[in-house]
């Protein structure tokens, strides 16, 4: 035991030196994710296209480090997350840090990832733009949700009439610009520094080592375990060093999250993405709910239509499996459409949800035609979205299967429309 502790201390002693050599591991050109984490959160640089300089670089690094730390402490609510902060390996490789390029690599669509997502893995990418005047920092964040192995948000039999699938309104969104001060960043940074000791066990008096918190040295952490009393067991990617970190009350109050509501969105998105494959979906839904609701509340009056509609849709999807929350979930799906009525996926989700909650009323004479028309409208707004055409085709099949619902003329009309749909479904599959 003593020798193990000595070995650990020896490793800790060389940590700053090793951190230098870790740089490439958090390099955008060869992105890394924790394959066994259910959700990875990747924080990419906040940049300014017009201005560059050491001052802005320093603030950007400081900001992304604090974002990573804040997200890391989200893990207290979620079972399995990894956080990776990435930077460009050199100034001429800045383009490698574009979210689309990183996403393609970790999904295995293009080569270059040091480690890809697992076959059912998911990630949230967070990045942004930054502009500074004196001690005022203006920033605008963007997020992208990526899932390997399909991105179906909801699937239902629609009362036993087929298979109907829906996706979220968007997998990429922008958040409104915010202003924070350099003083606030310093204040939050010092709170994190006070809690940076990783202990050998869940006791503040147990031996430990300090996590490196230098903005210019990006590292990746995985949360192996978290407990409700504020402790989490973390593992650093390169060295494999691990320890117990205690989230103080100050950190749990999420100061940065209050100033940047998009962190609530990210937190809720982690819960939503874990929910899809969790053994305890109800528990995860309950944990994601406060963050998503807080984000939705903060977005009132701001131009965040797509992000808010997506947050509402995530809530709706997590409510669907709970009979007591299902009608509230459907209401949220309707509210998402009101925010982005031109969005095919928001409309499709609302329609699939409607089938789920009230299929008996829909498969009625005089009702089914209106529903079919709405599905056709959703499909026409979503060029290339084959699954919406599939939903319409399944719906028509369901109408034909219900005895006496469609008279001979209507049945003939439906068969003709299904013929048209078959062509469109084929074309969409190619597209």
């Amino acid at each position: 035991m003593k020798s193990a502790a000595c070995a650990l201390l020896a490793l800790v002693a060389v940590l700053p030196v090793r951190a230098e050599t870790r740089m490439p591991n958090a390099d955008c050109s060869n992105p890394f994710v924790f394959r066994d984490a259910r959700v990875n959160v990747i924080v990419l640089p906040y940049r300014n296209k017009d201005v560059n300089g050491p001052d802005l670089e320093r603030v950007s690094s400081q900001l992304t480090l604090l974002l990573q730390q804040t997200i890391l402490f989200s893990a207290l609510r979620y079972p399995s997350i990894g956080t990776v902060r990435m930077v460009a390996s050199s100034p001429d490789r800045v383009a490698d840090c574009q979210a689309a390029a990183v996403a393609q690599k970790i999904l295995g669509q293009t080569p270059g990832a040091r480690q890809q997502l697992s076959p059912d893995g998911a990630a949230v990418l967070l990045w942004g733009q930054i502009y500074k005047e004196g001690d005022q920092i203006y920033l605008c964040s963007y997020a992208r949700l990526v899932k390997r192995g399909g991105d179906v948000a909801m699937e239902t039999s629609g009362g036993g009439h087929g298979v109907f699938t829906a996706r979220l309104p968007s997998d990429a969104m922008t958040f409104p610009a915010r202003v924070i001060t350099t003083g606030l960043l310093e204040q939050i940074g010092s709170a994190f520094r006070e809690s940076r000791t990783a202990h050998s066990n869940r006791s503040l008096t147990s031996p430990g080592f300090d996590l490196p918190m230098e903005p210019q040295k990006p590292l990746a952490y995985q949360v192996v375990e978290a407990t409700t009393d504020g402790w989490m067991h973390i593992r650093e990617m390169q060295s494999g060093l691990s320890g117990w970190l205690y989230a103080s009350e100050t950190l749990r109050s999420q100061t940065l999250g209050r100033n940047l509501p998009e962190l609530r969105f990210v937190d809720g998105a982690i819960g939503y993405l874990e929910f899809a494959k969790a053994a305890d979906p109800a528990g995860l839904a309950a944990r994601a709910r406060p963050s998503l609701e807080a984000f939705v509340e903060s977005a009132k009056g701001r131009d965040t239509s797509l992000a808010t509609a997506t947050a509402k849709s995530m809530l709706a999807v997590t409510f669907e499996r709970d009979a007591t929350l299902r009608s509230r979930g459907y209401q949220l799906a309707r509210e998402a459409v009101a925010l982005v009525p031109y969005n095919a996926d928001a409309r499709n989700l609302e329609l699939v949800y409607r089938l789920d909650v009230s299929s008996r009323e829909i498969y009625q004479p005089g009702k089914w035609r209106i529903f079919a028309e709405e599905l056709a409208q959703a499909a026409s707004l979503g060029p290339g979205k084959k699954y919406i055409f599939d939903n319409l085709d399944s719906f028509y099949a369901g109408v034909l299967a219900v005895p006496g619902l469609a008279d001979e003329a209507a049945a003939s009309e439906i068969r003709r429309r299904r013929g048209q749909l078959a062509v469109l479904r084929g074309a969409a599959a190619i597209r």
Binding site: N48, K49, D50, V51, Q129, Y131, E133, Q136, Y138, C140, Y142, S170, A172, M173, T174, F175, P176, A177, R178, V179, R302, D303, S305, L306, R334, V337, A338, V340, P341, Y342, A344, R347, E350, R369, I370, A372, E373, E374, A376, Q377, A378, A379, S380, L381, G382, P383, G384, F389, E413, R416, R417, Q420, L421, V423, L424, A427
Partner: protein, 255 residues
Amino acid sequence: MFLRRIFFLLTLAAAAAAQMRDCPGISIDGYKVMLDNVSVLGPQTQNANLLLSRLRQKVQFDLAAVQLEVTPQMVLVPCRDRAPQDVTDFNPTIVDSLNGHRVLVEIWGQIEARTGVAVQRAQLNFTLVPVSYYDRQVVPIGGFSAAYQQRLRGSPDELAKLFGEFSDLKIYVSIAAGVKSLKEHDYDQALLCFCRAGWLLERPPAGMEPAVRTSLLKYLERKVGEDFTQAHNDKSVKSGLGLDGSRPACPGEVR
């Protein structure tokens, strides 16, 4: 006197030609948004430069939002050596060339300062290339523009609000992409663009003239009708708009 006037006109013409320099970046494939140089006219005072920096940042925030949230995909082409002076620089030959290169919108702007006087003008201008090419009568006299001289001087919170609010650019890009998609027989894409633009116009940005908004809403209604008609008549294209039972309008609230 006469010779001096000719010399002056020739100088002006040469300057104008330099301002409308070609931008090699537009030769790449795909839909494009061009961002020209946003410059200061007059003395480069500290105040003017600060507003210029803020105006450029506003454009960058808006462009990023458009690129991330708006389909179809488009490429941003920076053209730092190009600086149109006013809407008349976009003569039919230039518009024809831009349209042929699938440029959707060209953004240009100025900060105008005069000695001893605060900034007179801080303006962004938008040339909606397909609209200028196919439906020039829709373009207002003086073109599409947004004035920012007051709002760029606000407090940090007001400035953050300005940076974060949705912009005219999203509307203009959607309209231009819709018109171009319709011309290229991508009827489904066109419908999405027109419907998104129509919804955004329901709550127009602060600086948009009511007459411009009304005119654009009417224009969009007409374009949606054209889109459905052409989709039904064009048997060579597989479009969801051609499905029997579809209604020639943008869907509204959920029933």
